[in-house]
Symmetry: D2
Subunit: 309 residues, 4 copies
Amino acid sequence: MATPPTEIFWQEKTSAVDTHLHALRRVLVDTTTAYQHMRIVETATFGRALILDGKLQSAAADEALYHEPLVHLPAIAHGGPRRVLILGGGEGATAREALAWRTVEEVVMVDIDGEVVEACREHLPTMHQGAFEDPRLRLVVGDALAFLASTEARWDLVVSDLSEPVASGPSFRLFTKEHFEDVRRVLAPGGVFVLQAGSLTHYEIHLHARLFHTVGAVFPHVHSFASHVPSFLTPWGFLMARDEPFETRPDPAAIDALLAERIRRPLAMIDGPTALSLLQTPGHVRKALDRHTEIFTMQAPPSIPRDGS
Amino acid sequence: MATPPTEIFWQEKTSAVDTHLHALRRVLVDTTTAYQHMRIVETATFGRALILDGKLQSAAADEALYHEPLVHLPAIAHGGPRRVLILGGGEGATAREALAWRTVEEVVMVDIDGEVVEACREHLPTMHQGAFEDPRLRLVVGDALAFLASTEARWDLVVSDLSEPVASGPSFRLFTKEHFEDVRRVLAPGGVFVLQAGSLTHYEIHLHARLFHTVGAVFPHVHSFASHVPSFLTPWGFLMARDEPFETRPDPAAIDALLAERIRRPLAMIDGPTALSLLQTPGHVRKALDRHTEIFTMQAPPSIPRDGS
Amino acid sequence: MATPPTEIFWQEKTSAVDTHLHALRRVLVDTTTAYQHMRIVETATFGRALILDGKLQSAAADEALYHEPLVHLPAIAHGGPRRVLILGGGEGATAREALAWRTVEEVVMVDIDGEVVEACREHLPTMHQGAFEDPRLRLVVGDALAFLASTEARWDLVVSDLSEPVASGPSFRLFTKEHFEDVRRVLAPGGVFVLQAGSLTHYEIHLHARLFHTVGAVFPHVHSFASHVPSFLTPWGFLMARDEPFETRPDPAAIDALLAERIRRPLAMIDGPTALSLLQTPGHVRKALDRHTEIFTMQAPPSIPRDGS
Amino acid sequence: MATPPTEIFWQEKTSAVDTHLHALRRVLVDTTTAYQHMRIVETATFGRALILDGKLQSAAADEALYHEPLVHLPAIAHGGPRRVLILGGGEGATAREALAWRTVEEVVMVDIDGEVVEACREHLPTMHQGAFEDPRLRLVVGDALAFLASTEARWDLVVSDLSEPVASGPSFRLFTKEHFEDVRRVLAPGGVFVLQAGSLTHYEIHLHARLFHTVGAVFPHVHSFASHVPSFLTPWGFLMARDEPFETRPDPAAIDALLAERIRRPLAMIDGPTALSLLQTPGHVRKALDRHTEIFTMQAPPSIPRDGS
């Protein structure tokens, strides 16, 4: 008898015309929440994965290549964050990385979609690794905009780990100048803001570039970096911003020393040399940043098509 | 918010090189039994479907177009079957059609794979429609070859509703001359044997043709007929055989009268005109029957590749 | 070295959500004409095929199963057609079948898209088999509506062999009551009109049914028949209509005698028994005809989505 | 009328179970050469692409992200290469990058498959950009192993730009220790060897790692670097090796000065910061290098399955 064949696929539109067929072992969740369509599947190649509105958010096999740069590059820039605010981050993996810092005293994670958080908690244990049980974590199920408007606290690190700004999806308002102004208002002195900021593939990099300029319209300093997450099928961009310039040629040994002192466990990817590597924005990306400069506002927000329909 | 998108597909190999992607609403069962790989899925287009070893067995939306010809054409030829033996038929839909005959006193269904039968019973209620609870039905989980070797009973109708003779699958031995001899031995006088007998697409019709000659090596009379089951994507062939010739130009009105008297409920497809239609083997099929005449034996059984791997 | 692999596919949408991937050996033509998108490809499974606006029109391996019923069922009903008018029919295969009748003196084929006809002439020799060189054939590149409005001739057979009524495609106006009235006007006494009339799959049969009633609003007698063409992946419906009733229980031997006398060459599919078979509209189709009765007019024409986009 | 739809796809197996469907605008070449299956297609997303034995070699839209690191990182390490030997490199893009160095006096390109080179020359002008006409280029159609065995010349740069070591394909022997020894023998003092060295996706990185150790068994110093080429769908690894250690923390400004002096035209990607970035092997890659240490020999060469399986 043959091995159970892989005949069930999740099809991701990777552009207006191309598609990728991910072989599935299991469909664990397939439901429409109050905010979006959610799937949790077990892919044959990348393990369990969260999919929101037809887009892969992260997959077990390589999510560290996404979550580690997202959290640790800005945290290293800060040096010793104590209070961290996460917008989105339903899988709990962003919280997990923030909580790895010994300096961190409080993490607040604001996710609008409690159903997504609950499903991740149940089905993606390798992603949160118990982060939801850490007494330093506070989960707020609610609207990030409302939270920012009402919080009195100030944060060393604000991590925007949101699903892509899909047209009429739950997150597109959080990719606008007005929102970035709200974020700047709640940063503590020396605080850093970081956001996942889209694919760097040539036909999509305009979103990343325009976000670069939108964040740059609010913060004196903004830096573009990227990580290669194979399950995304495309290099992925991030932006970090603050009032002071970023040190882009740090001494790798000094970073290694900082991490050794302040991180509780070995990381999968980030260390001194890796940080040095990621801090150099490659030439073709810098050229693209120069080409697409129009900023996003509440009047003219980003709106990428809901491909999967 | 968009309608839940169809992004999960079951891929069926329809030839060595072509594939069909069936959009899925749900995967209800996906497991390897002791005999084969079984899936029960809810397709977007054809409703719930049973898939064995990568091949669609039947789908809710049009399974009647398969099960009605399979049972009622030989039953009409017989006139009033009392005792019916079903080989395979896990969905319970073949039993359902047999039990629709008022004349039927006993149906024995022998299926080797109890896990398939149980899963169909639970997940495919529109297929069995309670057949498993009918006191006239006896389910035997076991090997059809062994059952035939040991049964003392004689049957008015033997219905072979088996999965395709996939290499090293559970059914290929049941498509051989030796097996058909066993079947003939257990037929009552006037009894009819019918089997599902493969696709009629030009590149697969050789299997149907060779089965025609294999059955014809055992029975004095054999007749090829077909039904168009859209979820199969291809016209599907059947063979019926007995010791006496078949009446292939019956009076449709007489058939309608017979069915009105002996069938408990309206049928979806079969009536007098439909039976007359199906009884005429089309010209291109008759030509194909003449082209592929080698018979299947236990030494040289049919063995179609397990495509889905 | 491996055999040249089949890695290039033509994807056909078979429903709003399902797709079929046909392995290709070659793409011979891929262009946008003045009226539609045209492809001629060599499929691995069905040989060369014509595709218009994303829909397969016919494929070498089994086009006879489409063109023979389309032409010969109405021609048999007529008995000895002399003048045949074909609307559409770009491949030349419909003309080929009409020209096979010894009684036929003139075939006029009106196709709006000269580019399609030219490409078929060049790339699909097994389909036209020289029909375009037959002195009895006259090709008119132009609008069927205009031709019908201006023709003084009367026709024994009018064959509507058009691409499906795709929204904003070239043919949807030719599936309306007004057009069918034009057709009736140009029929000679005893003349028969036949049209290809859509898929019989459960989720598409409403188009066939509504065409049945639309034709029936114009002609006293209309008959639904079908052929299963494997490359279409679905049973395909036709409608024929005339002023007198159709004989639906003809003697197969009489048909065979008629064909032997009047057809120049052996046919692949149609003969007496096959004609008898096709003339019986199956039960489930008759039920569907009763369910969808709204007719199509120029104000409310059929308009199936252009899926392939 | 709709825009010409994208319904024709090239399907690439990206793993044993996953596939990617690239929408095609045109198939320009589809043939089996004496050595491999070759396709040149125009993809909708990445422009024209060369495909050998079912694997994408490079695509117009982002081939610079592959060819620039391949050539310029080792050339920068060398400082001023005069004589360059390219093994493979059929598209002519590797030659193009080598010829961009003012210091380069001779480039010899040895490709076993003259049909591939000819087809690229005709159909991929944006890739070679006239490199084949440069008087400094000499094209040798022949076996790289034989060329290395017979050449008396010594080379500043040897660039192995071969298709992947597909089982029974033309290149797998060129990924063995014995071959790397041949290469070392023909290097001039200070010479650098570089090779494309496979995907860095977690389930394929073992090939890259084992090549790292195989090269390291021959050369005193070997360095792993990577580039994410979106059309490859995965980060891609390279290895460079020489007798002296590599400077992995160069001053970006010094590199920019070197390039300004020695390169004839602006590059798309590589400059000082980008070189600094690529020279830092990321943490997760270094860990993988430690995990897979078995080397490849002629007795035990690499052998990835044809088609990604």
